[in-house]
Symmetry: D2
Subunit: 345 residues, 4 copies
């Protein structure tokens, strides 16, 4: 069935898979000590435009959030996140499992509001009892957010400035970073992100890889013996090549950007189809995830022919659903979506 269920419904982008096939028989050392991991790191450093960043690979998004956050926080610290943040809601308590609290701040359209963050930090230190509270030790943002929205450069500068003032690192969850970078509304480059954050990751799983996220420590701040911390959390792949080869491919000939751009183009066309059929959007998303409000009866009919994701109840007779595009979205998929919408108008 035609599916817009997520951006991880297909396997790997064909060029990524091709490299896995081509390199399959080579004998390589394990645990990331192979030439492809090395190459991928160098290519990512070039793409970031900062030769001194440190790059490490992990397998998935929740894993990356938990490993990075827990390895960077001090004992008495927690991580500040939007109350809609992935780590706040949809990771089954993975951060808390590492012994650290997620401290919630108000958001707007999935984004932390700089003023709210500043207020949170100011209030914390003004409180006479703050030594009985979890210290804010890091700020977590996702870009694009869980709602497909983007921080502007100005907003990111504000948040970065606040973090700098309070001397806490800023961590960007870039599980869908490729779509953020290629969005027509984005004014942030990879270098901007490296300049303004202390650590971020370039998502692979949702942008063309079978699995894999590339963590970038931007301020020579990779935790000491990070490999051991990764191993301790059960997150070290024996065949580290699986990650290295894929990121090597993704950062060869701008493939990562091309995948992002393609999915954005398909999303733009999908948006137009929704508009043409008079559908309302739940939120204005400039990336590959689109959230539309469907009448429940129509939704049921549509589900017989196309797959998409339940997001949340809108009201008694309507539901918010998500349609996502990716490198695997086809012209045919869009045509079928258009047909289905027409037949259910």
């Amino acid at each position: 069935m035609t599916s817009f269920e997520s951006d991880y419904i297909a396997g790997a982008h064909p060029l990524v898979l091709k490299r896995l096939v081509e390199t399959n028989l080579e004998s390589l050392s394990g645990y990331g000590a192979d030439i492809y991991c090395e190459n991928a790191k160098e290519k990512i450093k070039s793409a970031v435009g900062k030769p001194d960043v440190q790059v490490e690979f992990l397998a998935g998004g929740t894993q990356t959030n938990a490993v990075v956050i827990s390895a960077m926080l001090s004992d008495y610290e927690g991580v500040v996140a939007a109350d809609t943040g992935h780590i706040s809601v949809h990771e089954a308590g993975a951060i808390e499992y590492t012994g650290h609290e997620v401290l919630l701040v108000k958001e707007e359209n999935g984004k932390i509001i700089p003023q709210e963050l500043e207020k949170y930090l100011t209030d914390f230190y003004a409180d006479d009892n703050h030594e009985h509270m979890t210290f804010p030790g890091m700020v977590y943002i996702s870009h694009p957010t869980e709602y497909g929205t983007l921080y502007t450069k100005s907003e990111l500068e504000s948040i970065s400035g606040i973090c700098h003032q309070y001397e806490i690192p800023l961590f960007m969850d870039g599980a869908r970073l490729g779509y953020g970078l290629m969005s027509k509304e984005s004014d942030l480059s990879l270098k901007d992100i490296a300049d303004l954050t202390d650590v971020f990751y370039i998502g692979g799983t949702k942008v063309g890889a079978l699995c894999g996220e590339a963590v970038v420590f931007t301020k020579n701040n990779k935790p000491k013996h990070f490999l051991t911390s990764v191993k301790k959390r059960g997150a070290l792949l024996a065949k580290g090549r699986l990650l290295g080869v894929q990121f090597d491919a993704l950062f060869t000939d701008d493939l990562y950007y091309k995948i992002g751009r393609f999915a954005i183009d398909m999303a733009e066309r999908m948006k137009k189809i929704f508009v043409d059929h008079g559908l309302k959007f739940y939120i204005d998303s400039p990336t590959n995830q689109q959230f539309v409000i469907l009448d429940n009866e129509r939704m049921k009919k549509m589900q017989e022919r196309v797959a998409f994701s339940y997001w949340e109840k809108y009201d008694e007779t309507h539901t918010v659903v998500r349609f996502a595009t990716s490198w695997s979205t086809t012209e045919e998929d869009l045509k079928i979506l258009d047909d289905v919408l027409r037949s259910t108008d």
Copy 2:
């Protein structure tokens, strides 16, 4: 360079990779809710010969040990292991990270001695202060062990009987299970293992997959909401298909057994080469890992032409090293090894 460094130096077995390529463009739901995971589970149930076992997939060995052990232990319990066990030594404290102690018992050739286990448990409950100690809540064994050795059916029955008597589950780490099953010295079938253990896993990473381990809960004892526990530990892959497709391939046409058998055959031939050159074995291993004692000078010369693993210091002038075979070991590899040994005799 020719490498016997480990059984995870190559990518996936070609038939496994072929299936990844063939299924790559199919649209599938995430997180293991796809047809290939389903198929693989059914095939594993057939291979095990017990239709009522429960099968779940995880990405790597340390991860599997940590997830299974921590999800099955009660708060006041730890896991009993040989003091040479992988969880005792080479997992960077991954079990302790979950808040549980590894309780050590003496071993012989990497195997828990049933009498020592029984003594441990008897002594524990005889101790007036045992409520101030970690309760033994599970027994962990690896098969093959970290030294390539195997439990006999009789030994496994003894250990299983002791666990049954004390009402604690027996967990088998089968990271290299394929080599155990196909060893000429093994008298244990997959069904025997399912009968005698409470949970075990069928290792994929070291037996032909890019990554992946198949956990088998044999007594309808999969922890409640296991998927949430997996997610909470950052161990849930978005593209669960990566694991499903690979295990589907490994359990099609007996591929898993064929890989195991091939590596065993190559190991037998490798052993003969070592014997022919008068090398001494550190331990008598009937599986794909061979531990030989090398004179340090010879070792250095050999390292220029073939790769193998440092294991431990033997004495001032000798070192124990490991040579491993796998599906990717070739005739040519063995020939080169023979040549290298001849030239360093």
Copy 3:
């Protein structure tokens, strides 16, 4: 200096201390296996009016919350609390340290609103993705709350009913329970609380003891090997008698109730003094903690002569402060407070 800073500014109630002195030289077994712990448990069972409850002693409030919650939750569960709850704010992430998430629901005057709780639970199970989220596995309420307010019997019945419907235990933090029971506005008896909750504790530290909280498991639901779980968390006192003797004293001749009643009476008189001087209350509290809004200049002057607690900023020129009474509050203290207010009117 005269102090209303908290209800733990003095040592133990004289009758409690007297018993510690009287029993000091007796030889008793450690870790709670002494006659005073036994007696105290029996007296608490009588006070509760339910002979089959299980009673255990711990040293402090945060410790009790962390031990009870973590020992009762399943791996995949978190605890639901008001976003003003002590465990949500002022315990430095003690619950998260045990690997469990605190799930926040809206409150009013420090109390969980039953409708909000029901909505939270309904929404959770309605969400298609709830297996990627922390399961609500317990409800935590404090009574009196952090704002001195009380649940009515009707409210507690509602919350208890919702918990029952969803089959999750209800846990009441009774760090100040004595003041709740003796408040003129309370319609809840100790037996009601035992009937309507699954576990609660009778606070000692803040109600006349040097330290100590008595946990009451009301449904024969004390976690298995609880002593080992307590030890594992570093919460087992070698001289368990310290807790036993104190609770034995507190539950002899209704001392616990008398302490509560006395502090409530003093709080009523203190309230009248505030009213007489035209002060405004931040919240209407019927217990021993009173929250008043002070002009910042007046506050500074007052601080020279009486001690009280900063609570939070009210506006640019006003602050919310807390005054607490206890068994150690004296007539003289109230007189001084009145004088200070008069001299700063």
Copy 4:
């Protein structure tokens, strides 16, 4: 019944209790911010003879071990201990609960052998795979040990030197330090201990207090925001005075030393009684704990009149038991012991 069961069978030393009574009605701030905690810290600094050490109070031994070790270790580190160490055996996995491994080294009479420690550390760093293992990040010793034995100054210097060489802190569990300091065989002063360790604690619970241990950070190395880490572990007493007043008393007029000396004297006399009756010692202990081997029948008869502790099975017909003295041991107790032994000779 006359009891030699442990050194925590009685309440507080009368002079300690007297101070609790005398200070009981004073209004003091909570959480350790009171004058008695302050005074006690100053007195301990004087006793240690190093004004720049940092002192903090905790309630019990297991708690102190868990808090100090987990707050000082880095993520990738574990703590090295004798395999008979208290943290290795009798703390129910309290260290592992904090996510850290206890790394075992061989001991002799309960003491870490310096050569074994050095070998452990050398071997660790020589191992090519050590990044897959828990890093040794601290050394834990108990003094007196769990067997009542003592490190000599020379042994402590060796261990300290090794720790210094590997740049890992040395932590001394001094739960019974008073008995160590006052043993006739000790050549270690409090200042020596402060010089040679990085952190240690002066046990109160087992040396005259109701509860309480005084942690001494000797190298200006108290973890940042330690109070928050203590709170996070549920180990912060609201009435911190309970600890401050007791240690203030213990370090007034050399009370701590007098208690130690008295118990040592009584232990010497008890030893003589055992010798006179021809009993054999399991180990030669120069402190307040004596381990003797009893014929099982005699043991049963003795238990009717005096209490002591089961330690371990010696052989089929004999048992190792422990007799402990303390400040509360009386002439009468020794006389009864002598009588009981005579009547069972």
